[in-house]
């Protein structure tokens, strides 16, 4: 068990490094001289040369990558071209905001999805099942930024119940978990939750349905076990694969919130990315992608480990 854990963790290291390499290459594949992607276009020549030396841009690519990684490991992601601020500073608050949004959206999606999926599986073939399946399909097919726009028109503008934009009455700097602040989270989180809702519904429905069909449930029933007992068994057996799906979903939400954040001006990583793209602010783009991708790698690892702990059979596979 321990050996497996160590192996699994060690395997994540080269992946993380390779992810770093991909992010590093983003600046290289951008059209034009990479120096133009790191210093402001109107910087004087002496500044340009200084940066070129500091970043080792006159050296071969592998060495540049080494230099870059060593800076990244120390938490230095460079400076934003647009604002001149260190990228790391902006990222810290942005990642926090995105995490808040993604966690709440995931929670809504997971709870809804689990309920819908279970109900659909138990009442297989009924109208309820069909409605749940339809809802799940709609959840994954709908362009959710569009849904966000519709929700704003309904709840912010027409009914005036919830705010249309932003992260709290005082901005995101002083986020608190009270209604004054959480109000701002409701619409973006709901919008973002439709995807995990759809996917978790499908997964839970499939898993539970299969389990209900299996012999052991019949046996349990035969043994006269009551509903509660059966449910417990089903939960125990369904948990590993459902958890895996949920873990991945959380990661996807972190990386996929860019559109929702744009629609709601939610000051997270997606919002940061969006403005970085239009300012051609590659240090910010690069830093944000790197942090999100590493987060995803770590999350994947965590999911694997939890899954293994819950279901020892996987280790043997």
């Amino acid at each position: 068990m321990l050996l497996y854990l160590v192996r699994r963790i060690l395997y994540a290291v080269p992946i993380a490094l390779a992810v770093g390499l991909v992010c590093f290459m983003l600046v290289q594949i951008a059209p034009g001289d990479p120096i133009n992607a790191i210093v402001p276009a109107d910087a004087p020549q002496e500044v340009v040369e200084q940066v070129r030396r500091d970043y080792g841009l006159d050296k071969p690519l592998p060495i540049q990558f080494g230099l870059w990684i060593s800076r990244v490991v120390q938490g230095d992601l460079g400076r934003s071209l647009a604002t001149g601020r260190p990228v790391t500073a902006d990222l810290v608050s942005a990642v926090g905001n995105t995490l808040t949004l993604a966690l709440v959206a995931a929670a809504i999606g997971f709870v809804m999805g689990t309920i819908l999926g279970t109900v659909a599986a138990v009442f297989r073939g009924s109208v309820i099942d069909k409605a749940a399946v339809g809802l799940a399909a709609a959840g994954v097919s709908i362009p959710h930024y569009w849904l966000g726009m519709v929700l704003v028109v309904l709840f912010s503008v027409t009914l005036n119940w919830l705010p249309a934009m932003g992260a709290g009455p005082g901005g995101s700097g002083d986020w608190r978990w009270d209604w004054e602040h959480v109000r701002f989270l409701v619409l973006p989180a709901l919008t973002l939750s439709v995807i995990p809702m759809g996917i978790v519904t499908r997964t839970v429905r499939g898993v539970v349905m299969e389990l209900l069909n299996q012999d052991f449930v019949t046996t349990l029933r035969g043994k006269g076990l009551r509903r509660g007992g059966i449910a417990l068994h089903v939960v125990k057996n369904a948990a590993p694969s459902v958890l895996a799906v949920m873990g991945l979903q959380l990661g996807y939400l972190m990386g996929g919130s860019i559109l929702v954040e744009t629609v709601f001006s939610w000051p997270g990583t997606g919002f940061l990315l969006n403005s970085a793209i239009f300012q051609r602010d590659l240090p910010v783009l690069q830093g944000t992608i790197l942090v999100l991708a590493i987060f995803f790698v770590v999350l994947n690892l965590a999911v694997d480990l939890v899954q293994t702990a819950l279901d020892p059979r996987i280790r043997r596979a």
Partner: protein
């Protein structure tokens, strides 16, 4: 999680300022707060010289800081004029007109309590003009250097007098000083000589102090009760600037009561906004929405016929309609009512057939169109409905045989491209920019674009236009200290500019703002500069 985040924020120096001011929402009882949804994607630079163009001066320029020579911003019914700021007088030495002597205002204090004097002024010129100075700030310098093209030297005469020398005689020089703001040397020293930290805890002499800054989100300005100018004492206690670059989001925020006023509403939502009890205010604004055409070798726009055709192919009335009537068709760089308009013989109008003929004469046609690539803004203050307008004009040109491809970028990127000029390496293949211009004075409307001495990156003669006669007229105006003569010469310059169709003139903005019911008063100046102290 929140806890650790805040701890991290503190560690990176982002959570700003004295703790007493840190708690928003918990504003003191009876404090009057107005929240202003602004069209910028980020709070403009707060260290002294704002970035993000002329429209940013109203937010982090003239609020926190003061210029030496100021603009009269609290009148709405006529254009403003130059008024004393931190300098009480400015005069060109009759013996040598290049030497300007400025008397400084006594008794002014920075927000940190230190005194304003000639040393502070010289220190600030060094900050942006002298790359060798220890406190030189590249970011502020990049913003203001192109705005001070005439300045050659600066010198302290005594504790309250400074002397500025221009490169050549320039009677219009005081207009350049509008853009130069004064930050506190003492605060910079106190914060360990870091412009990053200064930006978070700035200190100027202005009517507001910065109480809180959340980059990309908001800035909170509180009234400076010790401000030196009683006429510009802020009427509200606190103004909160909220970044909302998307016009629809911004308008939604006003409709749902999240902000109290906004600039540049989504025009299709104006009806909705009015129905909600909000007021739309607008005013004549010295502004022209245009395409500045490159005159460099290889640019198709070196051909006068194509420049004229591009101007004649546009139906400006329809564009005004697209803008919900909140605009005015352009007849030149400035409005015909301006003293510098003159009497150009090329009349801007919609004449597609004539345009087609001109294109044909230049050797092109709708089947074999002349092709060009323009750099444009995705939006932002002054750019109006950037994308739809560009798209509309693109279609109109296509019909006469001009095929334009756009490279849309964020406004700040466009500004950089603009300051670099058409010959810069990053502008390869691009033959026009779409920065909407402020045209408030002769320098800003004409001189900086069309004098050969202003070729970018010195000034913002983006297109590298060089014309001896135009230079001669401008030089004449700059050497004349007689306003009537200045006006006459500038009108001649303007006639040349329009007759040569150096820009594609489209419309003038009226800079619409929408005030919620909560706003009792606001004076909108006829300028891109606005005075937030007039908010009530």
């Amino acid at each position: 999680m929140t806890l650790s985040r805040r701890a991290l924020l503190g560690a990176t120096g982002l959570a700003t300022l004295p703790s007493g001011l840190m708690i928003p929402g918990a504003a003191a009882q009876g404090e009057r707060v107005l929240r202003y949804g602004i069209s910028m994607a980020d709070i403009p630079l707060t260290a002294g010289q704002p970035d993000r163009g002329a429209g940013a001066y109203q937010f982090t320029g003239y609020t926190i800081y003061d210029p030496l020579v100021a603009w009269e911003m609290d009148v709405a019914d006529r254009p403003g004029k130059l008024v004393p700021g931190l300098a009480t007088s400015w005069e060109a030495d009759p013996a040598d007109r290049r030497r300007w002597v400025l008397k400084l205002r006594e008794g002014v204090k920075f927000h940190d309590g230190s005194a304003f004097d000639a040393d502070a002024v010289i220190w600030n010129f060094e900050k942006v003009m002298n790359a060798q100075a220890p406190h030189f700030d590249q970011r502020q310098a990049a913003q203001v250097r192109p705005r001070l093209p005439s300045l050659a030297a600066w010198k302290k005469l005594d504790a309250m007098t400074v002397e500025l020398t221009t490169k050549a005689v320039d009677s219009l020089f005081p207009y350049q000083l509008l853009w130069f703001l004064v930050s506190s040397p003492a605060q910079y020293e106190k914060l360990g000589r870091s412009w990053d930290r200064f930006a978070a805890e700035p200190s100027g002499t202005g009517p507001f102090r910065l109480a809180r800054l959340v980059p990309r989100e908001r800035a909170e300005l509180v009234r400076n009760t010790a401000y030196w100018n009683p006429a510009r004492m802020a009427k509200v206690d606190r103004v909160v600037l909220v970044c909302a670059p998307d016009a629809v989001t911004r308008s939604n925020a006003l409709l749902s009561g999240q902000v109290d006023l906004i600039e540049t509403p989504a025009l299709d939502m104006v009806g909705q906004l009015k129905a909600g009890g909000n007021r739309v205010v607008e005013n004549v604004t010295p502004h022209v929405w245009n395409y500045h055409l490159s005159m460099l070798e290889g640019s198709p726009w070196r051909d006068l016929r194509l420049r004229q055709a591009a101007n004649l192919a546009i139906n400006r009335d329809e564009i005004v309609q697209l803008l919900g009537g909140l605009a005015k068709p352009a007849a030149g760089v400035v409005d015909p009512a301006s003293p510098w308009f003159g009497n150009p013989s090329f009349k801007l109008r919609y004449a597609p057939d004539e345009a087609r003929k001109l294109v044909q004469a230049a050797g092109f046609s709708p089947r074999n169109p002349v092709k060009a690539k323009f750099i444009i803004a995705t939006g932002g203050s002054g750019q109006m409905l950037s994308m739809p307008m560009n798209e509309y004009i693109q279609q109109a040109w296509k019909e006469v045989g001009i095929e334009v491809e756009f490279q849309p970028v964020e406004l700040e990127v466009l500004y950089t491209a603009w300051r670099n000029g058409a010959a810069h390496e990053s502008m390869r293949g691009i033959t026009a920019n779409n920065v909407a211009y402020v045209t408030s004075d002769p320098l800003y409307a004409l001189v900086r674009f069309f004098h050969s001495g202003q070729v970018a990156p010195t000034g913002v003669n983006w297109s590298h236009y060089k014309d001896a006669e135009t230079d001669r007229l401008i030089d004449g105006a700059m050497q004349s200290f007689d306003p009537a003569e200045q006006d006459r010469l500038m009108a001649r310059v303007h006639e040349r500019v329009v007759d040569q169709a150096l820009l594609v003139f489209v419309v003038h903005d009226t800079n619409p703002h929408v005030l919620g019911r909560n706003v009792r008063g606001y004076t909108q100046a006829q300028h891109w500069f606005q005075d937030l102290t007039t908010l009530a």
